[in-house]
C-alpha cells in the first residue's frame, strides 16, 4: 500500500482512514485508532462488532468476544471481568478467529463417486446417508450402526444426538472422543461420589495453601488456569508437581516428584499412608461422610514412602515431604488431567485423589477440591446430557430405573432404550469383526486421535458407510468417508458449553457458516426427520431444546432449572446446580458432605496398581509418552491452519534426553525413526533434559508423524480409556 505512495500522501491517508490504513510514523503519534503496522498493509484491523461467546478450544471455558468487521471475523479478545479469564487469552485463543476463515472449511456436502469426494446437495448427501442407514436397520438391526462424536459441540447438540441415536436409531453404539480424555475421571467420580461431575471451582486456586498438580502440563495445555496458579504461588501458595516429564509446573514447584511413568497409584497411596500415619486425617468427616475407611487404612499399611520410592523412582523423603505439605495445610487442592486419565490405572488413580482429599475432609470447601480438569470446551456438557456413555442427568445406561425415567420423559418404551454403551475401542473392534457396518463420525478425527492408527485405518476401510461431519473437509478421517457433511464452528452457532468447573457458558453466533455449511444441530434434526424420528424432537431451536434439557435434568445433580440463555450471559456463566431463577449457581459440589451414592456417603477405594500394558524391554527400550504443546490443539485440524501458530511449532518432533541422543548419535534437528510393535513414524529430534533418560515424548498434533501410529491398544478396565502415555518404542537415525 505504501509502496507507490509518497510519504506526505501516505500520512494524509493515515489520518483520514486511521483504523483501516493504520501504518503511520512517529509524527502522528497519539492519533486515536491508528497503529504502526510494520511498514505497510496488512495493518491493525478494528472490528465494528464484538459478539459475546465462549472459547472453543480447551475445557477452561474462557469468556471471549468475537470481533467482526463487515460480517467477517477479524479478532478475538478475552471478556473483561469474566470469572474464568478476566480478559486474558492464550496464544491459541488469540488466533482462534483464523480457524473460522481457514480455506479448507467444508462449504458443501460431498459424496464419494469413483473413489473421489465430489460436491453434492444436502438432499443428495442426506438421502444417500439415510437410505443406507434404513437398509442397515432393516437388514442387520440397530447394532450395525455406530456414532462417534466429540467434546466440542454444544449441550443442545449432544442432547439431540444422544436422543437421536438411543431413542431414534435405538443403537447402543454411541461414544464420544471424551472417552479418550475424560472417561477415567467420569468413572472415578462415579465410583467415589455416586455420580460424575467435577467438584471444585477455579476460585479454589486462589484460596488454596497447597496445590498438587499431577499428570498435567498445565502451563501449555491450560495456560489460563496455570496463569492463576502462578499468581497464587507468587502470593505464597505452595506447589507440588507430579509428572515424569519436567514442565513449567515442575519449575515452579516447591516439591517436584518426577515419578516413573504410570506409578501414580503407588505415589498417591503412599501420600495417603503418611497422612494417616501422622494423624492428619479428619476422623469426624470420615465417620460422617464416607465408607471403606477401615479397609483403606489396612490396605495402605504396606504403602510406606520407602516402598513407593522403590517403585516410583523418587526419594522417600520427597514423598514424605509432599504428603506432609499437603496434609498439614488447612486448604489443599489437587488438579490432574491426561497424565492420570490416559492410563490403564486412570480410574483407580482418580479414586486415589478422591481418597486423599476425603480422608482429610478436603471436599466442598474453598481452596479444597479433588479437581479433574477437562480438555475440551463442552466435554462436560456431553457427559451431563447423554452425549456419550450415559443418559441425560448422569443417569446410568445400565440402570433400569434410570432408563425408565428417561423413557417416560421422552415418551418412548423403556424396552427400546439401549442398556449398554460400548467404548470406541470396542466399536472399532466390532467394525473389524463385521458387526458394525456404518459409522457416523462427528467433529472428531479418530484416525489421528485413537491409539494404534493402523488398526483404526483398517477398520474404517471395512465400513459400508462412513459419514464424516466436520468443519474442515481436509480432516484426516475424511480420507475414507463415503459422505462428508460440512458443519459450523462454535462461532457460528448458539448454545451452551460447560467448562471444568461446571460453568454453563453461552455461545452466540458471530458469523454465518461458510457456503452451505450447517450447524450440527440442524443436521441432526434433518437426519431425524428423514429417518422418521422427527416426533422425538418437538423443538427446532437450541434455546427450545435447552428448555427440554432442563425438564429432563430437573432434580438431578446437574439441575439447570434456573438457567436461561439470558441469565447465563448476564451472570457471565452459571455453575450448576442452578435450582431456581434466583440462584447464581453453585461453586462447589458436596459442601454439605452428602454424596450421590445410595447411602449418601462417599466411597473410599483400596486399590493396587494395574500392570502397564507394555514396558520398555531389550527390543523396544524407550518409554514413549504422548501429549500436547501450547501452540496446537489435538489433531491440529484447527491450529495447523493458523500460520502464526504453525510457524512456532511447524512439525512432528521427539524429545530425547541428551544422554540418549548422544548414545543414538543424533543432535537437534536430525531425523529419527521411531518404531513400536504397532507401526513406525519419523520425527525431528529435540534434545532436552525435560525428559528422563530412557523416555521420549512426541506431541499428537502432526499427521506427518502421527504418534498414534505407535501407541498401544489397551484400555483402563473400568473407564475403557486408552493408555496413551506409556508404551515401548525403539529409535534409530532416519
Amino acid at each position: 500500500m505504501t509502496g507507490g505512495m509518497n510519504r506526505r500522501a501516505f500520512l494524509k491517508l493515515s489520518v483520514a482512514a486511521t483504523a483501516a490504513a493504520g501504518a503511520a510514523g512517529a509524527v502522528i503519534a497519539g492519533e486515536p485508532g491508528s497503529y504502526v503496522s510494520g511498514g505497510a498493509a496488512p495493518a491493525h484491523v478494528e472490528p465494528d462488532t464484538w459478539t459475546y461467546s465462549t472459547c472453543g478450544f480447551c475445557g477452561t471455558g474462557c469468556g471471549i468476544e468475537i470481533g467482526t468487521k463487515d460480517g467477517r471475523p477479524v479478532a478475538i479478545r478475552g471478556t473483561k471481568g469474566y470469572p474464568v479469564n478476566d480478559g486474558l487469552l492464550c496464544a491459541k485463543g488469540i488466533y482462534q478467529w483464523k480457524t473460522i476463515t481457514a480455506p479448507d472449511r467444508g462449504k458443501h456436502p460431498l459424496i464419494r463417486k469413483d473413489g473421489k469426494l465430489v460436491r453434492a446437495s444436502w438432499d443428495e448427501a442426506l438421502t444417500a446417508m439415510t437410505d443406507k442407514l434404513k437398509q442397515l436397520l432393516a437388514d442387520h438391526g440397530p447394532e450395525s450402526i455406530a456414532c462417534y462424536n466429540t467434546g466440542q459441540l454444544c449441550m443442545e447438540e449432544f442432547y439431540t444426538l444422544g436422543k437421536l441415536m438411543r431413542a431414534g436409531f435405538r443403537t447402543p453404539n454411541l461414544d464420544g472422543n471424551t472417552r479418550t480424555c475424560m472417561a477415567s475421571a467420569v468413572v472415578g467420580h462415579t465410583r467415589s461420589f455416586g455420580t460424575d461431575g467435577a467438584i471444585g471451582a477455579y476460585a479454589d486456586i486462589e484460596a488454596a495453601e497447597v496445590i498438587l498438580i499431577s499428570g498435567s502440563n498445565m502451563a501449555e495445555c491450560h495456560p489460563i488456569l496455570f496463569g492463576r496458579v502462578v499468581k497464587a504461588v507468587e502470593k505464597g501458595a505452595k506447589l507440588i508437581c507430579v509428572d515424569p516429564r519436567l514442565t513449567q509446573v515442575s519449575r515452579l514447584a516447591t516439591i517436584n516428584l518426577a515419578i516413573r511413568p504410570g506409578t501414580d497409584v503407588v505415589l498417591l497411596n503412599a501420600m495417603a499412608h503418611v497422612i494417616i500415619r501422622e494423624g492428619l486425617i479428619d476422623r469426624a468427616y470420615i465417620d460422617a461422610h464416607t465408607t471403606g475407611y477401615e479397609a483403606l487404612e489396612q490396605h495402605l499399611r504396606k504403602y510406606t514412602p520407602e516402598y513407593a520410592a522403590g517403585i516410583c523412582g523418587v526419594p522417600a523423603g520427597d514423598i514424605e515431604a509432599a504428603a506432609l505439605l499437603y496434609g498439614r495445610a488447612e486448604r489443599s487442592l489437587s488438579m490432574w488431567v491426561m497424565g492420570i486419565n490416559q492410563s490403564v490405572n486412570g480410574t483407580i488413580a482418580n479414586n486415589c485423589f478422591h481418597n486423599l482429599n476425603l480422608i482429610q475432609g478436603k471436599i466442598g470447601k474453598p481452596g479444597c477440591a479433588s479437581f479433574s480438569i477437562t480438555g475440551q470446551p463442552a466435554a462436560m456438557a456431553s457427559r451431563e446430557v447423554g452425549g456419550s456413555s450415559t443418559y441425560p442427568g448422569y443417569r446410568a445406561i445400565g440402570n433400569p430405573e434410570h432408563r425408565a425415567e428417561i423413557a417416560a420423559l421422552w415418551g418412548v418404551d423403556p424396552a427400546t432404550l439401549p442398556d449398554k454403551s460400548p467404548a470406541i475401542t470396542e466399536i472399532i473392534d466390532a467394525i473389524l469383526e463385521g458387526k458394525i457396518k456404518a459409522l457416523w463420525v462427528i467433529c472428531t478425527n479418530p484416525i489421528m486421535s485413537l491409539p494404534d492408527q493402523n488398526r483404526v485405518r483398517e477398520a474404517l476401510q471395512k465400513l459400508e458407510l462412513l459419514v464424516v461431519q466436520d468443519a474442515y473437509e481436509t480432516v484426516d478421517t475424511a480420507e475414507y468417508a463415503h459422505i462428508f457433511l460440512p458443519a459450523s464452528l462454535w462461532a457460528e452457532k448458539s448454545g451452551i458449553m460447560v467448562n471444568s468447573e461446571r460453568r454453563l457458558n453461552l455461545l452466540k453466533p458471530a458469523v454465518a457458516p461458510p457456503g452451505e455449511a450447517r450447524t450440527d444441530f440442524e443436521i441432526f434434526l434433518d437426519v431425524a426427520d428423514r429417518m422418521g424420528f422427527g416426533h422425538l424432537f418437538p423443538y427446532r431451536t437450541t434455546e427450545e431444546c435447552f428448555e427440554e434439557i432442563k425438564r429432563v435434568t430437573r432434580g438431578r445433580p446437574n439441575d439447570y432449572s434456573g438457567a436461561t440463555y439470558a441469565r447465563i450471559e448476564a451472570n457471565k456463566g452459571l455453575q450448576w446446580p442452578i435450582p431456581d431463577e434466583n440462584s447464581t449457581g453453585t461453586p462447589r459440589l458436596y459442601a454439605d458432605g452428602r454424596f450421590n451414592t445410595p447411602d449418601g456417603r462417599a466411597v473410599l477405594w483400596a486399590v493396587d496398581p494395574i500392570e502397564l500394558p507394555e514396558l520398555p524391554d531389550e527390543e523396544y527400550p524407550f518409554n514413549l509418552n504422548s501429549g500436547r504443546v501450547q501452540e496446537h490443539y489435538h489433531t491440529g485440524t484447527k491450529t495447523r491452519k493458523v500460520p502464526e501458530l504453525n510457524h512456532l511449532v511447524p512439525t512432528a518432533y521427539v524429545e530425547l534426553n541428551p544422554r540418549d541422543a548422544e548414545a543414538l548419535g543424533v543432535q537437534y534437528g536430525d531425523r529419527v525413526r521411531i518404531e513400536s510393535r504397532r507401526g513406525e513414524i519419523e520425527a525431528k529430534v529435540v534434545v532436552t533434559s525435560q525428559v528422563a533418560p530412557g523416555s521420549c515424548f512426541v506431541p499428537m498434533h502432526f499427521n506427518e508423524g502421527p504418534v498414534n501410529r505407535l501407541t498401544v491398544w489397551a484400555v483402563d478396565p473400568f473407564s475403557k480409556e486408552p493408555n496413551y502415555k506409556q508404551q515401548a518404542v525403539r529409535l534409530r537415525r532416519a
Partner: protein
Amino acid sequence: MSTQLGFHVDMEKCIGCKACEAACKDFYRLPPEIRWRRVRSFEMGEFPTALRVHLTLACNHCEDPACMKGCPVEAYTKRADGLVIHDPAACIGCQYCTWTCPYGVPQFDPEHGVVSKCNGCYQLVDQGQLPRCVQSCLTGALSFGERAAHEADKRQAVKEAPGFPDPSVTRPATRFAWPRKGPQPERQVRVAPPPAGAERAADAGEVR
C-alpha cells in the same frame, strides 16, 4: 528529570506461553516470520533437576539506541518518554539497523521491503493504556513503565539476562528479575547464543 519508559521481565513468573507474542502479532497483523516480541527458552541442568526458563523480549527502547545511529534516513525517533519509534514510511529497507542493533530487534520484511519493530504500542500508551503484550500476560511476568520505577519497586531489576548482549553498549531500558531457582545474576554465567532458526526450548542456547 528525564523519563525512560521500558519493559520489566520477571523470568520467575514467565511460563513461556507466548500470549504476549501472539497478542502483539495479532494486533498489528504481522506475518508469521516477523516477531516484534519473541519468547526464547533456555535450559540448564540435568533431569530431574533441569530447569527451562523463558526470556520474552521486544524492543529494549535503549537510552543510546544503535538502530537510530545506523539509520541513514532518520526513520528512528526517540520520544521524550524514551520510546524508540521506527517510522516505516520513512524506511528505505537498507537494513543497517538490523546489523547495528545488538538485540536483533528491527526485522526486515521482504514482502513490504521495509524494516519494522516494536514501537512500545506508543499510541496505546498515549491513550493511557499498556502495550498489548503487557495487557495479555497471563502471569504478570511482563510489565511496562518508568525504568526507574522498575528499579525501585520490583523484586529484582537487573540489566543482564541469560543470552542478552552486553547492556553497556546501548543502555537498554529493559530490566529483568531472574528465576529464583538456577544461576543468579551476580554469578558469572557462560552464555551460548541460540542457533539460527531455533524455536523450541531445547534448540535455544543453554546457560550452565
